[in-house]
Structure formats: structure tokens, C-alpha cells
């Protein structure tokens, strides 16, 4: 057998073997699902574009998702979904002696001037979790526990907090249940609609009185204005 024919023969037998394996694989997909745990020792010529192109088209047509009930797709949620903002961009970095920690932006509520150079990424430092960073650095970091209402800016930080922070001389980090958390600036509550408007109130009272009089009249009873007239007499 010539060598070129040999190559074709090997390629053909490889193709037939591959097809046979495919049939076997599709016969019992659930049994094949744990295939990763089985040690395979298959020997074949490496696949090429020619040997794969038909296989690819069959596979597309036999997509099991297409065999399921198809949804009405007016948009693609994968493309529409908002990608989470980058973690580093959402964080402040605090570093000291070869260790760094990522802290949510606006969780650091006070920085004394003398410690401001620690709010950066030290070159070649190792990033560690908050508790690993905080515990050995308690001498210059202080935490203040805040409520969810303070976090969302519905309530201001406690009175005297600013004075306490300045007195402490430490970097102050807001925490919720021990973990650093962003604190939004306090927002003054929006003005509520006026509780009492004399003009509106007079109209409402007149309307109410009219309704009451109509109801009394319907029942054959004197109207309140009539009663008042009798009294005045």
C-alpha cells in the first residue's frame, strides 16, 4: 500500500471511529455526563476543518435548547444586563507595610492629613481581606458602625461624630456588621405637601356641609342652616 493511500485509510478509519463514538454519545447523554471521571485512551488522527464541518452543522441543528419550548424573544437579556462596575473602580485602596486592602468607595469617612498618603496602592504590596488588614492596624484605623438608614443617606451620622473623628486622629471607616460599607451623603427629606391650606380647607368644608345638608333633606330632616336660623330667631 502506498504511503498516500495509507494516510487516506487512516483518516477514513479515524472518521468512521469518530462517527461511531458520536452515535454512542448521543444514545445516552445522561450516562455520558460523568465522562470526565473516566480515563480515556483514544488514538486517532487530529481533526481538521474538513472532518469537523459536517459534525458542526449537525450539532447546530440538534441543539437541545431548540427542542425545548421557545420563548418570545424581543430582546437579549445577556446583552441588556448591566455589567457590574469594576471592583477596583468602586473601591478605595489603603496600604501599609506591604499589605493593601480594598474598601468600598465612600466608606472612609475621615482621613487626617498626616495619614492621607496611606490611601494608595503601595508598589508590590499584597492585597488582603479587610479583617486581615484592619487587625494589625487598629492603632491608626478606627471603625464606626452605621445603620442602613445612614448608609442610604436617609439619616445623618450621629451628632458629635465629626468632632470625635477629628479628635481621634485616625482614619475612620464606616462599617455595617463589621464590614466596610459605602455611606451616601445625608439628604434632607423632601418637603411634604402642606398639611393645611385655608382656601382648600374652606372649599372642602363647604362641599362637606353641602353633602351633609343634601343627605338630611333626602331623609326629610331639616338642614343644619335651617336649624341655625330657628335658633337665631
Amino acid at each position: 500500500m502506498k504511503l498516500e493511500e495509507n494516510r487516506k485509510f487512516v483518516s477514513l478509519t479515524g472518521g468512521i471511529l469518530g462517527l461511531g463514538l458520536l452515535v454512542l454519545a448521543t444514545l445516552d447523554a445522561s450516562a455520558q455526563f460523568n465522562v470526565a471521571s473516566k480515563k480515556k485512551k483514544v488514538f486517532r488522527d487530529a481533526h481538521t476543518h474538513q472532518s469537523l464541518v459536517a459534525h458542526y452543522k449537525t450539532s447546530l441543528d440538534a441543539d437541545p435548547l431548540r427542542a425545548m419550548e421557545s420563548p418570545e424573544l424581543d430582546y437579549d437579556p445577556v446583552k441588556e444586563q448591566k455589567k457590574p462596575a469594576d471592583l477596583v473602580e468602586q473601591s478605595d485602596i489603603i496600604s501599609f507595610r506591604g499589605k493593601s486592602a480594598l474598601i468600598p468607595k465612600d466608606a472612609i469617612v475621615f482621613v487626617p492629613e498626616r495619614l492621607s498618603d496611606r490611601l494608595k496602592m503601595e508598589e508590590s504590596s499584597q492585597i488582603v481581606g479587610w479583617s486581615k488588614f484592619y487587625n494589625p492596624n487598629r492603632s491608626w484605623i478606627r471603625t464606626v458602625e452605621v445603620s442602613l438608614a445612614q448608609v442610604t443617606g436617609e439619616e445623618p451620622l450621629a451628632q458629635g461624630m465629626q468632632e470625635m473623628m477629628e479628635r481621634s486622629g485616625k482614619i475612620v471607616v464606616a462599617t455595617y456588621k463589621g464590614g466596610p460599607i459605602t455611606v451616601l451623603p445625608y439628604r434632607e427629606p423632601e418637603e411634604t405637601p402642606k398639611a393645611f391650606d385655608p382656601e382648600t380647607q374652606e372649599e372642602l368644608e363647604n362641599e362637606t356641609q353641602e353633602n351633609r345638608n343634601r343627605a338630611l333633606s333626602d331623609r326629610g330632616m331639616p338642614r343644619s342652616s335651617d336649624l341655625l336660623a330657628v335658633r337665631d330667631r
Binding site: 479515524g14 447523554a29 480515556k40 483514544v42 486517532r44 488522527d45 481533526h47 476543518h49 437541545p64 418570545e72
Partner: protein, 293 residues
């Protein structure tokens, strides 16, 4: 930890120190009233960090749904979830830049929608895919990601949300060549220097050359040619060039021999190239011996 109104999203990130870069590894939406779903992608490669496979190999997607109530009202968020399949090809630049983490960090605008299906009950199902659908002109050389996502649908009191998403990396089929020795040549002296080139070697693979007597055939455990073995244990495919020198000892006898370049991966052993040649190193001396008596 309290769930906020509308649900809470948990994100798992990893951060590289230098340069400071973050990569999103996984995220989950948790809500008191929405259904839930889990996805798992399994391939023949037991690598645990990222599910991965090769352009010619099958993979399986297992989905499990829960929190759904019986009924089929397409407008009721508690009646159904939708499983989506997208693919995304890696450009060669992505590898050059070393952006091999992929997954949720890739730009979803580049994802190509392939298919979707409704799941209307609390169940576990397996989707079988014989090969990837990642686009590419050469089906053996496609590389990229298959991504599966489960979304709930929106309703009066809840928002449509991503319940789970998993991806699978797909790497190209390796190719290779043997040069320096031709087919059907007759070798009468020492073995010539041979160059082996292998491209797109699978991230977990061992590539080597072996020789054995006779014509090419499958499943032969031949003699490993010294200096030919290369082990790849990487996160992306690799390219290697090996040179065989002074490999006469691998051919102990005259006759027809086959030299083949093989790569062993979690999927089996693939022959990348081979040559068959004849060796005849016996020196025959034609002469007469005469004596004068």
C-alpha cells in the same frame, strides 16, 4: 444578611496586585420570591479552575431549577425561566494580552446568541452538545467561550434577573509537522536531524515523537525519541518546536520505520503528523577471496 427589596446580588471577584486589576468570577442574584437555577458545565477535561474543552470535543450542560410553581402562564414569573446559549470567539489579540480569564469579564456586546429554551418546572436536565458553535472559518481552529445563562422573566413585583451563568472555554485542535526527513526515503547513514513543530497544543497536554517498525497504524506503543517530549501545563494553548539530533539508537534495526508526532490530552492521543521511511545501514562488501597455492 438581609435581602434588599428587589433582591440582592452577590459578586465574587479576584484582584491582581500589579497592575491592580479586578476580574469578576461569578455572581448570583438572590431574592425571596424569584425562582432559582443552577448551571454546571462538564467536559472531558477534569481541569477544575475553568471548564474547558477542545473545538472537536463534546460537552454537557446540567441545569437545575427550583422555586417554580406549576402552570404555564408565559407572563407569570413563577411559572418559567429561560435558558440562553451564547458564544463568543477569542481574538488572537486577547491571548497576546494575556486576557485568558474570560468569562464574565468579556464584553457581552460581542456575544452571539445561538438558542434559548423555556424551563417550566422544577427539574434537573442535561443538554448535550457534540461540538462548539463558536464561529470561525476553520472549525478545528475556533477558540472562545460557550456561555449559558438562566434568566427569570419580569413580573408585577419582581424584575427579570440573571439566576445563574456559566461559561466553557474552547481551545483549538493542535496541528503539527515533521520536517527534515521525507516520506519513503531510504536512509543509509545516521539519522538526519529532524524538526518537529506543534501549534495550538492543548493547555494540559504532553507532546512527543515515537518510532516503531512498519507502516503507520493506530494504537502502537513505540519508542519515545529522546529530546522530543514537551509537557504543556498552561492556561492557554502553546506552540513548541523540538529538534531531534543523534537519535540513531531509537532505530536499532534496518527496515521500514514510522516516525510520528503525537499529542496526549485529556481527550486521548492525537497524531499530528507522521513519516514512514526505510533504513538500510548494513554495509555489504562485494569482493573475492582467492589464494595462490
Amino acid at each position: 444578611m438581609p435581602l434588599l427589596l428587589g433582591g440582592t446580588r452577590f459578586e465574587l471577584w479576584t484582584v491582581r496586585s500589579n497592575p491592580t486589576t479586578s476580574f469578576l468570577l461569578d455572581m448570583k442574584h438572590v431574592d425571596a420570591e424569584t425562582p432559582w437555577a443552577h448551571l454546571r458545565i462538564v467536559s472531558e477535561d477534569p481541569y477544575e479552575a475553568i471548564p474547558r474543552t477542545r473545538a472537536d470535543r463534546p460537552f454537557w450542560v446540567e441545569y437545575t431549577t427550583g422555586g417554580l410553581v406549576p402552570g404555564f402562564n408565559p407572563l407569570n414569573p413563577l411559572n418559567l425561566v429561560i435558558v440562553y446559549r451564547h458564544v463568543q470567539a477569542y481574538g488572537s489579540g486577547d491571548l497576546i494580552l494575556g486576557l485568558d480569564l474570560g468569562g464574565l469579564n468579556f464584553n457581552t456586546d460581542q456575544a452571539i446568541f445561538i438558542s434559548a429554551g423555556l424551563v417550566t418546572g422544577n427539574e434537573t436536565g442535561v443538554l448535550h452538545y457534540p461540538v462548539t458553535a463558536i464561529p470561525g472559518e476553520d472549525r478545528a481552529k475556533v477558540m472562545g467561550e460557550e456561555r449559558f445563562s438562566v434568566f427569570s422573566i419580569g413580573g408585577p413585583n419582581m424584575v427579570a434577573s440573571l439566576l445563574d451563568s456559566k461559561f466553557l472555554q474552547v481551545w483549538p485542535v493542535a496541528d503539527g509537522s515533521i520536517s527534515g526527513i521525507g516520506d519513503e526515503v531510504l536512509i543509509r547513514t545516521s539519522m538526519p536531524d529532524v524538526t518537529l513543530r506543534a501549534n495550538d497544543l492543548y493547555p494540559d497536554s504532553t507532546t512527543y515523537a515515537q518510532v516503531y517498525p512498519g507502516e503507520v497504524r493506530d494504537g502502537v506503543d513505540g519508542t519515545l525519541v529522546p529530546g522530543s517530549a514537551v509537557v504543556v501545563n498552561h492556561s492557554v494553548p502553546q506552540q513548541r518546536t523540538m529538534t531531534l539530533e543523534n537519535w540513531d539508537l531509537a532505530i536499532p534495526e534496518d527496515g521500514v520505520w514510522t516516525l510520528e508526532l503525537l499529542t496526549s490530552t485529556p481527550f486521548g492521543i492525537d497524531r499530528l503528523d507522521y513519516v514512514t521511511f526505510e533504513v538500510d545501514r548494513t554495509i555489504r562488501v562485494n569482493g573475492n577471496l582467492t589464494s595462490l597455492e
